[in-house]
């Protein structure tokens, strides 16, 4: 079995090469953004078995962000038989930078120049044979999307005769390196002594720490090495920048030998589209319409499959019931299993699955098209004013699908401070789980049940979402001035050329990587939640269920902030999944022992009004749906991403407190006015 790793700059089609090689035999962890963490896949070629690792996209091996660090650590310290550096033919020169850096660490390198079809369209000609000759490694050209060139790539996987391409620095540095290599050779295990020498001369604390950790040996603690280094540094006047500059100059030199631009302008169509999208006049309307359109499609499209799933599950329920009775299950257990666990579980699936299965493919299409970085580009100015990062706009977009996905997506943000801001504020973007609840309330109280005006209700929903945006900016700003003090860090963002999305792959990738992941986690929490809710609803003390006791207990506080005890309790019990908030609320109002579906909106409205709901309750409910603690899945994800209980707690309390304050204000203002 051979181990192969794919590296490359972001957006060079690395994932496409990966998919083309492995088919669907892959275990992906990259359900957020593009490739964030390693994905691995297996395939067999010529009776040889290969394992292939898809590393996160990186511009260089001096890591700037967390995902780049993953790639660097693998190349420097991982075990592999071959590294394939995937390059973008349309900007090969910059990509060569990474190739040369990888070649400093290992000889086992193969270069795959991808996107040749696009280069051809842009009239860029690349002399692959010459490139191979210069670099002394195999070079293969592909357009992975059209499956061209992949056979040549496969044939080269068995290539063995690697020779070392040693990029020569200036004489002083070279002589320093050659002094160090002999004394390092037997101390650096499998690491390349030349690379270690270079890193000792050109000291970088982060990398040095990693090397020490890997060797379990402090090289600078060794007297001979230390003295040699001190002497070298005394005589050698060289800095980091010069080293990088000489690599970049080398890239330029190679590029001049192998690349021919017949038309040096960046694609005119791209330019025209970008001019419109980023214009003052059209920028914001286009993005809002896009957002609005996606919600509309998601909400409209989800209704039918949701009903279908509901019916299917209640059909299965009948047979489950027969079966449990047939095997003489005690009544209380049947009730717990069916009315408690099964009901809640299937409820969550029916309400959650369809919108996600529509939203995520749509989102992934925009991602594939190359549209998303433009959103970050446009809104970066606003985020900068809040001392945050423009890429936060992207994680917010992901948050619409699921906040947990949004939180993981923040890994694309380089600065830890800005990343925390993005994590803490992600919950102000309402996820798919909260849309149905919001839409229901909006329809009942503000649009009118019989008007069937789904356009108006989505419009009102968009307004609520804009309030969420406003809060995001506001909170980001306040955080940067208080507990997350700091100035905006540097920000560079690549705007890749637009590409025709690959519809089939998009659907497969988004469903498998994102939807199933989120659904899996939701199911895992829905089961115990179902049991707890059933227990609370069915254990009664003097004729009143625990559920109603709790609701009564919370009622005074609920009333104070324009809600009531039942609503608050429903949100608390809806911690595992916001989809079940309204069902739980009804369960409390009607004192039933199981979650029930409302017959129609008319009867739901009647129930709510009978329980004292007014328009103010509805507004407070909308605000509270937007601003309250993240669901359990998101909390777990935040804990995992920040590795800190403190930040998880803050991300829990922050939106809750803001929600309570807003609702309290609304309620008290209304009381004051009347």
């Amino acid at each position: 079995m051979k181990k192969i790793a794919l590296v490359g700059n972001p957006n060079v089609g690395k994932s496409t090469v990966f998919n083309a090689l492995t088919g669907l035999h892959q275990h992906t962890g990259n359900w957020s953004g593009k490739t964030v963490s390693n994905a691995t896949g297996e395939f067999i070629y010529n009776d040889n078995k290969y394992v292939i690792y898809d590393l996160p996209g990186t511009y260089s091996l001096i890591a700037n962000s967390q995902e780049e660090e993953v790639a660097r650590d693998f190349i420097c310290f991982g075990e592999y038989d071959l590294i394939i550096v995937v390059c973008d033919a349309t900007c090969l020169e910059r990509n060569l930078n990474l190739v040369l850096q990888v070649l400093e660490i290992t000889d086992k390198v193969l270069v795959c120049v991808n996107l040749l079809d696009e280069a051809q369209k842009k009239k860029i000609k690349i002399d692959l044979d010459n490139l191979s000759k210069i670099l002394k490694i195999p070079v293969v050209g592909t357009s992975a999307r059209n499956k061209k060139g992949l056979n040549n790539l496969l044939k080269l996987l068995e290539y063995q005769e690697f020779s070392s391409f040693n990029f020569k620095y200036n004489d002083d540095l070279e002589s320093a390196i050659s002094k160090l290599i002999p004394i390092l050779e037997n101390k650096v295990k499998t690491l390349n002594p030349r690379w270690v020498a270079l890193n000792l001369i050109n000291y970088n604390a982060k990398i040095y720490y990693k090397i020490t950790e890997y060797l379990n040996y402090n090289l600078l603690g060794d007297e001979i090495i230390k003295n040699q280094i001190l002497e070298i540094r005394k005589n050698l006047n060289i800095n980091n920048e010069e080293i990088t500059n000489s690599i970049i100059k080398k890239c330029e030199e190679i590029a001049n030998q192998v690349i021919k631009y017949e038309n040096s302008n960046y694609n005119d169509i791209n330019k025209k589209i970008d001019r419109v999208i980023t214009s003052k006049l059209w920028g914001i309307p286009i993005m809002l319409i896009m957002l609005f359109g996606i919600f509309w499609l998601t909400i409209k499209g989800a209704n039918y499959p949701s009903d279908l799933l509901f019916n299917l599950f209640s059909y299965i329920e009948k047979y489950l019931l027969y079966f449990l009775e047939f095997i003489n299950t005690p009544n209380w257990l049947i009730s717990l299993l069916i009315s408690g666990i099964y009901k809640v579980l299937t409820w969550v699936i029916s309400v959650m699955l369809p919108p996600m299965a529509i939203f995520f493919p749509l989102f992934t299409l925009l991602e594939d098209l190359g549209f998303l970085p433009r959103i970050a580009f446009n809104f970066d100015g606003l985020f900068k004013k809040c001392c945050a990062c423009g890429k936060q706009a992207l994680t917010m977009c992901m948050g619409f699908g699921c906040n947990a996905v949004g939180v993981t997506g923040t890994r694309i943000i380089d600065s830890p401070r800005e990343r925390l801001i993005a994590i803490l504020t992600n919950v102000f973007v309402p996820c798919n789980g909260r849309f149905p609840m919001m839409i229901t309330i909006i329809t009942i109280f503000f649009v009118g049940i019989n008007s069937h005006n789904s356009f108006l209700s989505v419009l009102l929903l968009t307004l609520v979402i804009l309030l969420g945006f406003l809060l995001t900016f506001l909170i980001s700003f306040v955080l940067s001035k208080t507990i997350l003090k700091g100035i905006p860090s540097s920000f560079t963002l690549e705007l890749p050329s637009y590409r025709r999305p690959q519809f089939g792959k998009v659907i497969v990738r988004s469903i498998f990587n994102r939807t199933i992941f989120v659904l899996g986690r939701a199911i895992a929490v829905a089961v115990p939640a179902g049991a707890v809710i059933w227990i609370l609803a069915n254990i009664t003390v003097s004729g009143i269920s625990l559920l109603n006791y709790l609701a009564d207990f919370l009622n005074p506080f609920g009333k104070l902030i324009g809600l009531d005890g039942a609503i608050l309790l429903a949100f608390i019990l809806g911690f595992p999944a916001n989809e079940i908030v309204i069902p739980i609320m009804l369960m409390i109002y009607l004192s039933t022992g199981e979650v029930i579906e409302f017959e129609n909106l008319e009867s739901l409205k009647q129930i709510l009004i009978d329980n004292g709901w007014t328009n103010i309750t509805a507004i407070c409910m909308l605000i509270f749906s937007l601003c309250h603690f993240p669901c359990s899945t998101t909390c777990l994800t935040i804990k995992k991403e920040t590795g800190s209980i403190k930040w998880t707690l803050i991300s829990f309390l922050l939106p809750t407190i803001i929600g309570i304050i807003l609702c309290l204000m609304i309620k008290q203002i209304v009381i004051f006015i009347s």
């Binding site: 930078n97 330019k271 970008d274 970066d380 100015g381 900068k384 560079t492």
Partner: protein, 74 residues
């Protein structure tokens, strides 16, 4: 003249980069060194950041990061 002063459509050569280590590192990764040719191609609707073609790729850079990079129009 500085990189941040370029107007959409302007082409220039990088003359001098006096900027902090962090952003310099990022820009070096993208192939931006003294002598590199660039073209300003886009302006976001908040006027900041601007996007430039750097070695064939379109890259957005904030004005606060590009205001210390000296350029010369060509």
């Amino acid at each position: 003249m500085f990189l941040s002063d370029l107007k959409v459509g302007d082409k220039a050569i990088i003359k001098k980069m006096v900027t902090n280590e962090n952003i310099k590192r990022r820009l070096l990764d993208l192939g931006l060194i003294e002598g590199t040719k660039i073209e300003c191609v886009l302006k976001s609707f908040c006027n900041d950041p601007l996007a430039y073609i750097i070695r064939g790729a379109v890259i957005a850079i904030r004005k606060s990061d590009s205001s210390n990079i000296e350029v010369e129009l060509i």
